[in-house]
């Protein structure tokens, strides 16, 4: 073995050890734990418990995250589209500066803000009541699955927008100008010329957001602890209150499958991107 080869192995060794010790080993451990009982014997009982006890949450989690992703896509296209095609210089500049702010706010802070904003006597309802739009008796709290969706969209839309707007900015402007010259409206130009060209970037942004949202505990814990809520909350409860790591890991394994599925789409998209180059 040549000295430079040895050196390169030595250089990657720390990273490899960290990866194995802190990621691969715990991952394998939790998968094994999901399929064993307290005495260590193989069993599917944990999955039975997970599916019977948390059936509604297992359905709601991908539904909540999926709906959030959809809304994020719409917002990202709208904001990115206006930044690219907007004609009011000042509005474009202000929007461009403002839309990134939520990126710098941690999930738990966002959740806390939403609690004071969306509660029954929160800022939103109070403002609507002050405007006379809402009757106080009909005011309702949004601190349930709707609150989770609102927080996720608010927090993750800027991230996807950042990627999408970047891709839109680097497009060949001549395609946009050609469409506009031929009389296409701005909306039509956005949907038929711009979006198809940034579609892969949009997908990648959404997939990364999906995986991040799947793993957030603070938002469901603070906004909607009761059912329907997200799998992460159920896992935390299982461990904190019942000391039951096996069912928690079974729930975790189901989350892996969900994120694994979208990760597969991500890999396919990046492969296609590379092949296209």
């Amino acid at each position: 073995m040549s000295p430079s080869r040895l050196l390169s192995i030595l250089l990657i060794l720390p990273a490899l050890v960290v990866l194995l010790a802190l990621f691969v080993y715990p991952l394998g451990f939790s998968v094994v734990s999901a399929f064993t009982d307290r005495s260590g014997a193989a069993t599917l009982e944990n999955f039975h418990t997970a599916f019977t006890t948390y059936r509604s949450d297992l359905i709601f989690t991908p539904a909540i995250v999926g709906l959030s992703s959809l809304l994020i896509a719409v917002l990202a296209i709208a904001i990115g589209g206006y930044l690219t095609l907007g004609e009011n210089r000042a509005a474009v500049r202000i929007l461009g500066a403002v839309y990134r702010w939520p990126l710098f706010i941690p999930f738990i802070v966002a959740a806390q803000c939403m609690r004071t904003f969306l509660g029954r006597n929160g800022m939103m309802n109070n403002s609507l009541m002050a405007l006379g739009v809402l009757d106080p008796a009909q005011a309702q709290s949004f601190l349930d699955w709707r609150g989770i969706v609102i927080t996720f969209v608010w927090k993750q839309a800027p991230f996807v927008t950042l990627m999408v707007a970047g891709a839109m900015a680097s497009l060949d402007r001549s395609t946009i100008d050609a469409a506009r010259n031929l009389g296409a409206s701005r909306l039509r130009t956005l949907l038929e010329i711009v979006v198809p060209q940034v579609r892969d970037t949009l997908y990648v942004g959404l997939i990364l957001s999906f995986v991040v949202m799947m793993s957030v505990l603070s938002v469901p814990a603070m906004i909607a602890s009761d059912s329907p809520t997200m799998i992460t909350r159920d896992m935390a409860w299982r461990i904190e209150q019942l000391g039951d790591y096996h069912t928690a890991n079974a729930l975790g394994f189901v989350s892996y499958l969900m994120t694994g599925l979208v990760a597969w789409f991500y890999l396919r998209a990046t492969m296609r991107e590379r092949a296209g180059r």
Binding site: T52, T53, Y54, R55, S56, D57, R120, N121, L143, M222, S225, D226, S227, R233, W237, E240, Q241, L242, G243
Partner: protein, 385 residues
């Protein structure tokens, strides 16, 4: 030369001081009180009980360590003692521990606690069942209750002139006033969990077995109708985000009634966070309460001082001033021993809505430890799902 002499004399003086310091440290003894529970438990030891004990016992200092709220806090104390036991330590570094009921049973079964109660002079001031039975485990002699906390129904008398006295009346009331009753379910703190237990005491086929055991997994199947009814009941109620959330919703007028911890209720009223017009009531089939226990670990390094500490902590004077007056808890020893040490006003504030006879007849223990978990899991499976 002078400078050198000066340096040497300083060094000598320093050495003398250091020796004197060590001697003093040897005279001074420290007992460690490790407590589970919220921050107010640590405050109680550091601000009130610790200084009092130090004044009465010169040369002793009290070190309070909090391990966090809920059963998880008691679990940490167990982990510490278990680690020292596995290491075959001659003495353990926890002298007094304050733990929840479930862990008290476990620790007694695992021979981790000293049978100290007969040696404490205040032992005969407690006749309550909880001093002997902790969630179905016989803990007689191993524990002294620090205080009792009790769940009661808080309500707004302006909107609820006649509060429901039975669970049936509550169900009818909630149906007539949708979303005006609030509880925090099983994920947001013990006042909600306790309400779920109260529901089972009212509607499960054999409530006595849930409290006294023996545990029998076959009983779980018989809970179906009770839980189904709960699910329908929950359609008419507001689920609040926690113990504090229920009180908060009551204060904001979002709900008119809900289960709360009595001590939290009184503290909130005293702090002006809840209008003094709010009242408490009980449910005839019973609402649960729980003590926290003083225990002394087996092989505690300062067992004798620990017994002295607990003796002080369970004396009528301290129970009156510290537990009742300052922290709004119900006394751990029998109430009649405490009464003479309290102002009439304080006594009446504590028992105005729920007098001692109601507490005795409608206060229930939490369920037996295995049923405790089984009910929570059945609620998740059948009511939340």
């Amino acid at each position: 030369m002078k400078r050198r002499e000066f340096l040497m004399s300083t060094a000598a003086a320093g050495a003398t001081l250091a020796t004197a310091g060590t001697a003093r440290a040897q005279q001074r003894r420290t007992i460690t009180v490790m407590t589970a529970g919220d921050q107010n438990m640590v405050d109680y030891i550091t601000d009130y009980l610790g200084p009092l004990f130090e004044r009465q016992n010169p040369g002793v200092s009290v070190r309070a360590v909090g391990t966090g709220p809920g059963d998880a806090g008691s679990q940490r104390i167990w982990e510490r003692l278990e680690a020292q036991r596995r290491a075959n330590a001659q003495t353990v570094d926890v002298d007094v521990a304050v733990i929840h009921q479930r862990m008290a049973g476990t620790m007694v079964q695992q021979n981790m606690l000293a049978r100290y109660r007969p040696e404490v002079q205040t032992s005969n001031l407690v006749t309550n069942e909880v001093a002997r039975n902790s969630l179905g485990v016989n803990v007689d002699g191993f524990v002294m209750p620090m205080f009792m906390s009790q769940i009661a129904m808080a309500y707004n008398p302006q909107t609820v002139p006649n509060p429901p006295r039975t669970m049936d009346e509550l169900v009818t009331w909630a149906a007539a006033h949708p979303r005006r009753f609030g509880h925090n379910g099983i994920r947001g703190g013990m006042s909600g969990v306790g309400f779920v237990f109260a529901w089972m005491y009212a509607y499960a086929p054999n409530p006595q077995q849930l409290i006294n055991g023996p545990y029998d997994a076959n009983v779980i199947a018989s809970w179906g109708p009770a839980l189904q009814r709960f699910k329908e009941f929950n359609r008419n109620v507001t689920i609040t985000p926690g113990n504090a959330g229920t009180l908060d919703a009551l204060n904001r007028g979002e709900i008119d009634m809900g289960p709360v911890w009595m001590d939290m209720f009184y503290t909130w009223v005293a702090e002006g966070r809840l209008p003094p017009t709010m009242r408490l009531s009980m449910i005839q089939t019973g609402l649960p309460g729980q003590p926290m226990y003083y225990v002394i670990p087996e092989r505690a390094a300062n067992a004798e001082l620990a017994r002295k500490f607990i003796e002080l902590a369970t004396s009528p004077q301290v129970q009156a001033v510290g537990i009742v007056q300052r922290f709004n808890w119900l006394p751990g020893i029998d109430a009649q021993h405490v009464q003479s040490h309290l102002d009439r006003a304080v006594w009446e504030r504590l028992f105005r809505d729920v007098p001692p006879d109601q507490l005795a007849s409608m206060g229930r223990p939490m369920p037996q430890a295995d049923f405790f978990q089984a009910i929570q899991q059945a609620y998740e499976r059948n009511v939340m799902n």
